[in-house]
């Protein structure tokens, strides 16, 4: 039994330095259900995320897989502080970030960036690609000099495999895959330590998906990025992630290393998910008969 079998891989680079990059403890989110226009009545709540705990090691890609309504995207938004948790804590580099607001939160936002599913609605159609990617630099006052900012943007575009000369074009001039690259470039602008990717390839065509998955793997290696990768697609999760949490009805039902999860899943729900993947054997068994 190697370290990998325990789920805590020694394979992730940089684990020797101080502790995990991200610690999530008892994270819980209940959405209240309100009825009535004049007088709000509370009719209970939806338990979207319930007592979720895990750690993300430096340099690893941590996967969260689940079906719709499993709470995986809510978990991502809680970590990124786009939603306030009902209970629980999120520690980033050992520091509790759930209570932070305003000015205290800003430095954390620099280190922790998100890539969204839909490359069509997440980019402002009226802004050029250059100003979309430059926006975080402006907001965080990183590059105040215009020329330096343009240079930084062009470097970012090049990093994600886009033509740097296209910085003054508009989103509609780009294909879905290229737009997702723009979204990734924007997320990388502030040099984050953690990238949270929520279904980053689900809206893309098959032949384009592979381009973006390869880019993310390449960036992880080149920039030493740590990633939380969220998807409903078990094959994509297997391809991308070192350790994986399977979520079901707001809870983590299984957390295991990649090889453990796919070769010997412990939970019946995980087995059910794996068995439901259509054509799994047929697609993979593509060998040429003698």
């Amino acid at each position: 039994m190697s370290a990998e079998e325990t789920g805590m891989g020694s394979e992730a680079p940089g684990t020797s330095s101080a502790g995990p990059l991200l610690e999530v403890r008892g994270l819980t989110k209940h959405f209240p259900i309100d009825r009535g226009v004049m007088r709000r009545r509370n009719l209970g709540s939806v338990r979207a995320v319930e007592e979720v705990s895990f750690e993300v090691l430096r340099g690893e890609t941590f996967g969260i897989v689940g079906e719709s309504g499993s709470g995986k995207s809510t978990t991502a938004r809680l970590i990124a502080r786009l939603l306030e948790p009902s209970a629980g804590e999120v520690r980033f580099e050992g520091r509790e970030i759930t209570g932070l607001h305003g000015r205290d939160l800003k430095p954390v936002r620099r280190e922790l960036q998100m890539v969204f599913q839909d490359p069509y609605s997440s980019l402002n159609p009226r802004k050029t690609i250059g100003s979309i990617v430059a926006e975080p630099l402006v907001v965080h006052r990183v590059e105040s000099d215009r020329a330096a900012r343009t240079r930084a943007v062009q470097e970012l575009l090049e990093t994600v495999g886009l033509n740097p000369e296209h910085y003054n074009r508009y989103p509609h001039e780009f294909s879905g895959g290229q737009r997702q690259r723009v979204g990734i470039a924007r997320a990388l602008a502030l040099g984050p330590k953690l990238l949270i990717a929520d279904e980053p390839v689900s809206a893309l065509d098959v032949s384009i998906q592979a381009q973006v998955l390869n880019l993310l793997r390449d960036l992880r290696r080149r920039l030493g990025l740590t990633m939380v990768f969220i998807s409903h697609d078990l094959s994509v999760i297997r391809h991308m992630c070192d350790r994986i949490a399977v979520m079901h009805e707001g809870r983590i039902v299984e957390l295991a290393s990649n090889s453990q999860l796919y070769s010997a899943p412990r939970e019946s729900y995980t087995r059910e998910l794996l068995a439901a993947v259509p054509g799994a054997r047929r697609v993979t068994g593509r060998t040429i008969p003698a």
């Binding site: 065509d205 032949s207 078990l234 087995r271 068995a275 259509p278």
Partner: protein, 381 residues
């Protein structure tokens, strides 16, 4: 295994009724896989095809210019068989299937070619009332999003009753009884209660089941399903696919399954047509598409999907570039700008869909030499 051995295995005869328990789901998908394996032989020669599409062309005039959505495709489907039409967005796969229903006639589309269906002659030249009598009756359809096809303000049962009574003289009470029977058939629990539910009161999977029940109301010989499981979770998808293949076997219904998902057609289809930029670029029995694909685009698709048991550390091999805009299709072979094996000659010559030497049921539209293709695929595989 000889084709004869294959033919002796009744397809999916052991399919269990689709249940909700995890075990049933597992069994059902395992079963569907088993049946897919035994389903890769040609149909027993029992008369002609149910559906024959010949040189179908569909184009639209848009503000930006002429869009050639489907550009000269031909395919056949025997009774009870399943054809999977696979392609990416904009490949024309949906138009290729919907034209059979006459649904591309409207909105300034120009349609040419021939679609023969079950002794009705050319559907493309039938007057609309006669086509309407066939549509929803002998040919039915299921779409990706049941919410867009089910009216939100009417009870599910009422909509099925309406579908039944649109095509035959039958009393309301009898139609309602038939609706309950159909809901039961597609595995909706407590059908006599659910018949009075509104669409929003059903889960996504149940809505898709209700859609299928409605499609079955006319006892169709042909079901056209356009991305029927794309909006569903993977476990629900497995149930719906198992349901479709069970119904198909029980009723001898032919199925045209349009999808972007190679996994779905691997499980369901007898034969697969791969579409690219408005054309069928490869057509073959399912087994051959996965084992000995001939078109570099098919290779690209197979090599760009991550798998559940392939080597994990390897990078995927994406197809470079993006599919062409239907407004500006490249000259020659439409795949040549993205094809790693293209030569300057390929930008000038437009390849026809032709049988692979020695394989009459395997067609490919590729300018590469067949021996060269075989060598390249062996190197890639």
């Amino acid at each position: 295994m000889s084709p004869l051995d294959d033919a002796l295995i009744p397809r999916g005869s052991s399919s269990p009724p689709s249940g909700a328990s995890p075990e049933a789901v597992q069994d059902a998908s395992a079963d569907a896989r088993a049946s897919a394996t035994s389903a890769s032989t040609p149909a027993p020669a029992s008369g002609g095809p149910l559906l024959r599409v010949e040189d179908l062309r569909v184009s639209y005039t848009t503000e930006d210019g002429l869009v050639q959505a489907v550009d000269g495709i031909s395919y056949e489907l025997a009774p009870g068989r399943t054809l999977g039409i696979v392609g990416e967005s904009g490949s024309g796969k949906t138009v290729a299937a919907l034209s059979v229903l006459g649904l591309t006639r409207a909105e300034g589309a120009s349609v040419s070619g021939r679609i023969d269906f079950s002794g009705h002659g050319d559907l493309l030249s039938l007057p609309e009332p006669r086509l309407r009598a066939i549509r929803g009756n002998e040919i039915a359809m299921v779409f990706q999003d049941p919410l867009s096809s089910l009216h939100p303000m009417y009870r599910v049962g009422a909509q099925i009753v309406e579908a039944i009574r649109a095509h035959r003289e039958i009393a309301k009470a009898a139609a309602r009884a038939r609706a309950i029977e159909l809901l039961d058939l597609v595995g909706i629990p407590e059908p006599s209660v659910r018949v009075d539910a509104y669409p929003h009161e059903l889960s996504g999977g149940q809505r898709q089941r209700a859609m299928i029940a409605m499609a079955l109301s006319g006892e169709p010989k042909l079901l056209i399903a356009d991305e029927p499981t794309t909006a569903l979770d993977v476990t629900v998808q497995a149930q719906i696919l198992a349901l479709l293949s069970r119904l198909q076997h029980e009723r001898g219904m032919a199925l045209v399954l349009v999808t972007h998902d190679l996994g779905v057609v691997a499980e369901m289809a007898d034969e697969i047509a791969v579409m690219y930029a408005g054309r069928i670029v490869e057509r073959a029995p399912t087994k051959r598409i996965f084992e000995v694909p001939e078109h570099p685009y098919t290779w690209g698709l197979l090599r760009s999907i991550p798998t559940l048991d392939g080597p994990r550390e390897e990078l995927l091999t994406p197809i470079p570039g993006s599919p062409p805009s239907p407004l500006a299709l490249p000259p020659g072979c439409r795949f040549h700008p993205r094809c790693p094996y293209s030569t300057p000659e390929h930008a000038r010559t437009d390849p026809a869909l032709e049988p692979v030497p020695g394989q009459p049921d395997h067609e490919v539209a590729c300018l590469l030499d067949p021996a060269e293709r075989r060598r390249l695929w062996r190197e890639l595989g």
